[in-house]
Symmetry: C2
Subunit: 518 residues, 2 copies
């Protein structure tokens, strides 16, 4: 009897859950390969691109790049570059750089543990990845506070539930309540158990990426698949013209294991480069190609993405400025440079200075995501969630940003001009002054004709007022809570789960108290 | 003594005013010709465009357009079209339509009473026009209320002060405290005295446009300039496939006087056309070309703009949906059709369903303005101010929207790749690990290097919090009040001003109590 009642109560809850799910179009957003068929917007013509290329080659040949890591200096020396070991500076001829860059694949397959979530990087394909590297978590109920592991888990669950996001987050938000030496282990555990999407982990030093690879071997089998990577991380240059040992360790460790590196100079024009976009991009190109070349020294053919993260400083406050015309130029031109070398391209999708998810946040976000799409960016990092120059990840902003990503997913499908779509007979039949609401042509397409928003409000003013005058963040606040209440972990083979748990527990013991690169 | 004190107090106020002006970069936004050098984004290839063209020609030939106006039917009959006077329906062969459309100019000059504000329509030039046709005014202090003449004046003053707006508003907001028969006279007076920009007036019926032309003759001299129009208005088709007598009266009156008509079908796909974008655009094209052809029957060579205002209905609520992927498709494809016929193109810049100037409003606005820019729209109507599907004009949204228009003005200038801009010597001189803040190259470009926002907040979180946690609308609220406090009317010759005042007063008497088209 008790059992039967339990089952009945469970069924009732489940029915309620199903009804609730049926209500939210959010969960109907498909996970799918997104092809960007728009002709890329070109900021410069071919001659202009060659001027940026030539300037960047001269930077590498005449000024050089500092690599603050002995192994990297050795690799460069063996390859025939001019190495100054005192300054730890490498000058490289353009022939060497281009030869190495030419070894990187134009496109590659990035395996997810769920094969349905495996992604393709390169060509006309677009991949959306969530927020990374943020320090604070924020929501309307609890405000802005240092991130915790619970926050990290909540973001990772939302990533799993969001069809238009292709990649599991890595440093979605810093879990301040976890010891530094244990954070990557908690992230790996959460990433492999709460999601089944393509994985990332911080490429910081040599220990963290090695642990990430070891964890991946438990999930994917050892050796890792030969036909494509299973994990990757972001490498930032320390602009101007420098890679530090933390980033080089990550670069070499991931690349040598055939895993993904996303080589991304972070340049604030006016501070870390001259103020002019042409100079900032020449420098970005030099830095990016030097890093990409190093991945190919570590392992020829290693999968690598050309990244750009160049924007301008606010010359009044000294703060980084996001979602600016200058940042849009940099995104477009960075993509042109990547295409010149036949490399996949990484941009960023929701960059903003705004402190709250207001109209400024949305405008600056759109000034990031539109240029990303127009540049034909392959890997869109920070595609959701950013606030406050990337210091804060907002739960409301996360689901708000998903709306415009889903709109792009729909928009990029383009339109049908078949006879059925042109519907001449129906136009004639209804004729002047009629309406098309009840026609068979409309009824046949009723549910799929238009992008169906899950957040945008289209109520009449009076209805909206009676319903409580909810603005976009207030509606988003209800939605993320509803989504988290419905989260279910994706299935994971019990033996793999146990082995992963054992590995994580062992490494937690071994690394307790050890100082790691964050 | 008193006089001297007065002068001194005035000087102090003036100094304060000048300082205040120097503080607001809003007033530094230049009025300039904006060239859009981006290659237009093409939604369809040439064959696809021809399919839309052919379908629209078949609509005109086989189904026809209703023209609910005797003079229009006569013009069509004289031109050789097939006219059914009972149905008031006109069927026209494509040869006739294309011959007439071919008489419209590809580009033209639109004179403003201040020659520095004269604009060019067509080619790669972009013109921004403010909100039109809204019913309610809104601001944070007084909320949403039916618009008044004072609201109309405030918007018109802001238009004059906004460098990036090229056109004086016409129906910025309905002045409900003015009798219907007097409203156009109040608008004409305000437009010609509060601004000196290119003028618009409602093209409703035959009386209002005739009064507008008479007023323009007082300002520009009679006859009006032969080398380009001085005033214009918007003509909406009553989709599907119908023009009513109100719009036809405006069309014929303005076109016959050589003034601008902006022929704009307003189609909600799913109601006023089939749900499919291809069908909606074929119908839009048929309606637009029929209206444009009629302008050329009224006066061969009359300046005319091909307008599109096609979006989708929300199939759940029946409400128009704005800032949608479908609306973006329509904007891009509409521009392709206009280019096919060598006509200037009109789109809309800030379409949104949002009730307040929140993130939804900003996102939907960006989903209007980016497609506008990518389509190479020549005349961007509603480029500022919209809320609530165009029912409301918000003072805060107005100045918020100016920010992204100014960003586009900057962005579309593109970048310099000269040797000075590439700054190789400076990159080498600073070298790895340095910074560029104090270099001569930076100092030389300090004030003009980057787009300088007037509204976007780039403060650190703690500073922003201490300053009162102002979000975008709160900052915008301070700004529009500061701007209106600084407004000064542009100079107008006293004799013209007196003559215009006499004309307005006389027509007010003559039209008192007369029923006019609104």
């Amino acid at each position: 009897m008790t059992n039967r009642e339990d089952r009945s109560a469970r069924n009732a809850r489940h029915d309620k859950l199903r009804q609730s799910r049926a209500r939210s179009p959010y969960l109907s957003i498909p996970f799918q390969t997104i092809h960007n068929s728009l002709t890329p917007v070109e900021l410069l013509d071919g001659a202009g691109v060659e001027r940026i290329h030539d300037a960047s080659m001269r930077i590498l040949e005449e000024f050089g790049i500092d690599f603050l890591d002995a192994e990297a200096l050795d690799l460069w020396q063996q390859a025939g570059a001019t190495v100054d070991h005192t300054k730890r500076r490498v000058k490289m001829e353009r022939g060497l750089v281009l030869e190495l860059v030419g070894k990187a694949p134009e496109r590659f397959t990035w395996h997810a543990r769920n094969p349905a979530h495996t992604i393709q990087i390169g060509g006309d394909q677009v991949v959306f990845a969530p927020n990374g590297g943020t320090v604070f978590a924020s929501d309307l109920d609890n405000g802005r506070r240092p991130g915790t592991l619970a926050d990290f888990h909540n973001f990772q669950k939302l990533v799993q539930m969001t069809g238009v996001l292709h990649v599991a987050g890595e440093q979605l938000v810093v879990p301040h309540d976890v010891q530094v030496s244990q954070r990557h282990l908690e992230r790996l555990w959460a990433g492999f158990t709460l999601t089944d999407k393509a994985m990332m982990e911080a490429a910081h030093g040599r220990v963290i990426p090695a642990d990430a690879i070891a964890a991946a071997e438990i999930i994917f089998g050892s050796p890792l698949p030969a036909d494509g990577p299973v994990i990757g991380g972001i490498i930032n240059a320390n602009s101007p013209l420098r890679y530090d040992d933390r980033m080089i360790g990550g670069l070499i460790t991931f690349a040598r294991a055939g895993q993904v590196t996303i080589i991304t100079p972070f340049i604030l024009a006016g501070v870390m480069s001259p103020v002019t976009t042409a100079a900032a991009l020449a420098q970005q190109n030099a830095e990016a190609l030097a890093g990409i070349a190093l991945t190919q020294l570590a392992r020829p053919g290693a999968p690598v993405i050309y990244g750009g993260f160049t924007t301008n400083v606010d010359l009044k406050s000294g703060a980084p400025a996001f979602g600016t015309p200058e940042g849009a130029w940099a995104l477009l031109l960075g993509a042109q440079m990547a295409r010149r070398y036949r490399l996949p391209y990484r941009g960023s999708g929701t960059l903003t200075n705004a402190k709250v998810a207001d109209a400024q946040a949305a405008t600056e976000t759109q000034w990031s995501i539109w240029p990303c799409m127009l540049a034909r960016t392959n890997f869109v990092m920070h595609a959701v969630g950013w606030l406050e120059s990337g210091l804060t990840a907002s739960l409301e902003k996360f689901v708000m940003d998903v709306e415009h990503l889903a709109m792009f997913q729909h928009f990029l499908q383009g339109i049908d001009v078949s006879d059925a779509a042109l519907a001449l007979a129906e136009i004639g039949q209804i004729g002047p002054g009629g309406h098309h609401l009840g026609t068979q042509h409309t009824l046949d397409r009723y549910t799929t004709a238009f992008y169906q928003p899950f957040l945008a409000d289209r109520l009449a003013y009076e209805t909206w007022e009676l319903a409580g005058r909810f603005d976009a963040p207030m509606r988003a606040n209800l939605l993320w809570k509803e989504l988290l209440a419905q989260y279910e972990a994706p299935p994971l083979d019990a033996a793999k789960r146990d082995a992963l748990a054992d590995f994580i527990a062992r490494r937690k013991r071994e690394l307790a108290g050890v100082e790691l690169y964050r």
